[in-house]
């Protein structure tokens, strides 16, 4: 079989259309430049997990599952629980993703998702300790991308936030110097809700929530993650282009505002 290059190509006519429509601050799918596509969040979709969520942003769809299990702490942090976060781009999600070792994009997605929760201190890790230096609870977060149509960073962020927000952890007792896991569960200690917002720059316009085409043809990409108090907890810049200082300040304001809206949506959804 001939080797097939798996790259998304946007034909020049489509590119011109997108650029022309952006000059009038409109997008081809009818959105304004700072609009999200329709976001739908569904929690507890997987039976055998401690918490799970399915998030759709337009045609992008991701599934997150949480499992809280007994583990051993890392030697440098004996007084903290463990978070292990992994995001996977499945070959079914897009024609441009092949099975095999994870691509750079998949690794970036995984790292950015992980950083958002870890740096925001979303999970109260000291509370996961059973016996310092010996037994702790480990929180495994697994994300599977079901369908890819751009802006997976945000989709993953919301899926994790929604799944962790409703997640539970087992209770335990110590018997004969052994940890026994009980059937009763309690809510996972959550301190904040980090929400990411992704921007791209095409020409001189800043767009929120890019779809696959916009993400392919953009010059620069920025993902900002805010927590409950409006602090920025992590950021990721992609592609070769740059942002001006003014644009950056604008994005910071929008990120806070949009983050608040989406946070409300996740909390409301959980009740």
């Amino acid at each position: 079989m001939p080797a097939v290059k798996k790259i998304r190509i946007i034909d020049s006519m489509r590119r011109t259309d997108i650029e022309n429509s952006l000059k009038q601050s409109k997008r081809l799918d009818g959105r304004a430049i700072l609009d999200y596509r329709e976001i739908s969040i569904e929690t507890n979709v997987l039976q055998k997990t401690s918490g799970s969520a399915s998030v759709k942003i337009g045609d992008s769809e991701v599934l997150a599952g949480i499992k809280v299990e007994l583990g051993r702490p890392f030697p440098d942090t004996p007084d903290k629980g463990i978070i292990i976060c992994n995001a996977e781009l499945l070959p079914i999600c897009s024609a441009f993703i092949e099975p095999g070792p994870p691509s750079e994009d998949a690794i970036e997605l995984s790292r950015v998702s992980d950083r958002g929760i870890r740096e925001s201190g979303m999970i109260d890790l000291p509370q996961l300790v059973i016996r310092e230096g010996e037994d702790v609870f480990a929180v495994f977060i697994d994300i599977a991308v079901i369908n890819e149509d751009g802006n997976l960073f945000d989709a993953c962020s919301y899926a994790i936030a929604a799944a962790l927000h409703g997640a539970t952890m087992p209770t335990f007792k110590i018997e004969n110097d052994k940890v026994v896991i009980l059937e009763k569960v309690k809510p996972l200690p959550i301190l904040s809700l980090p929400i990411s917002t992704t921007f791209v720059k095409i020409g001189d316009k800043i767009l929120l929530d890019p779809n696959a085409e916009e993400q392919t043809m953009c010059e620069a990409r920025l993902t900002l993650v805010t927590d409950d108090k409006g602090n920025f907890v992590s950021a990721q810049k992609g592609k070769a282009g740059g942002f001006s200082f003014k644009e950056f300040n604008e994005m910071i304001e929008i990120s806070k505002k949009k983050g608040e809206e989406i946070r409300k949506k996740i909390i409301k959804n959980d009740k």
Partner: protein, 221 residues
Amino acid sequence: MSTIERKYVIPGDTIIEGDYRPLINAIKRNNRVISTRIGMAEIVRKDVRVIPLNGTYYPRLDDTVIGIVADSNAFVWEVDINSVFFGILQGSAVLGRTFSASRDSLASHFKTGDCLIAKIASFDRTRDPLLSIYGPGLGKVSNGEICKISMAQVPRLIGKKGSMIKLIEENTKCKLNIGQNGVIFINGAKESIVKIKKVINIIEKQAYLPDLNDKVNDLLK
């Protein structure tokens, strides 16, 4: 005159037993010819072929295809023709015999993202299909939009003796170029293109309807 036998099959179905030759999308096991695709099995004399109901485009000689330039190097352009194969358009086939890889830059003729209407000049499975843009109506196109349809529905979009495409073109004053690979190039007014895209979507999803022409006619008016 030979009779042609047709029937619907799914993968694993035995099409026929005996001394028959599997040609396309069929294999032979223990004297039985078995289908490997969902589709219509056709038995002509001793030959068995399955025409798939759906699937990706498989290049054939002399097909007109519409592709998008994906890449270029010193000698060839690689064209995405909506298939598992990339179409190869040689520099010498466009620039003529005087073409020199050291003097001429292919990227200055067709850039990545340009849309080409081309013919499959040669293809034999072992190598990527060679394209040619010599001929009436072939070459680079601009000012329009590209839209895709499942390659199996291309005959339905054209219609009996071109009835469907004629209907669409007359009602919208647009020009449609349909590639055998399921890529359609539409040239015309923006509003009409939006309308045509809706129609194409309906044709793709409801290709089985007997009164599809009337339905499309109503939609266009």
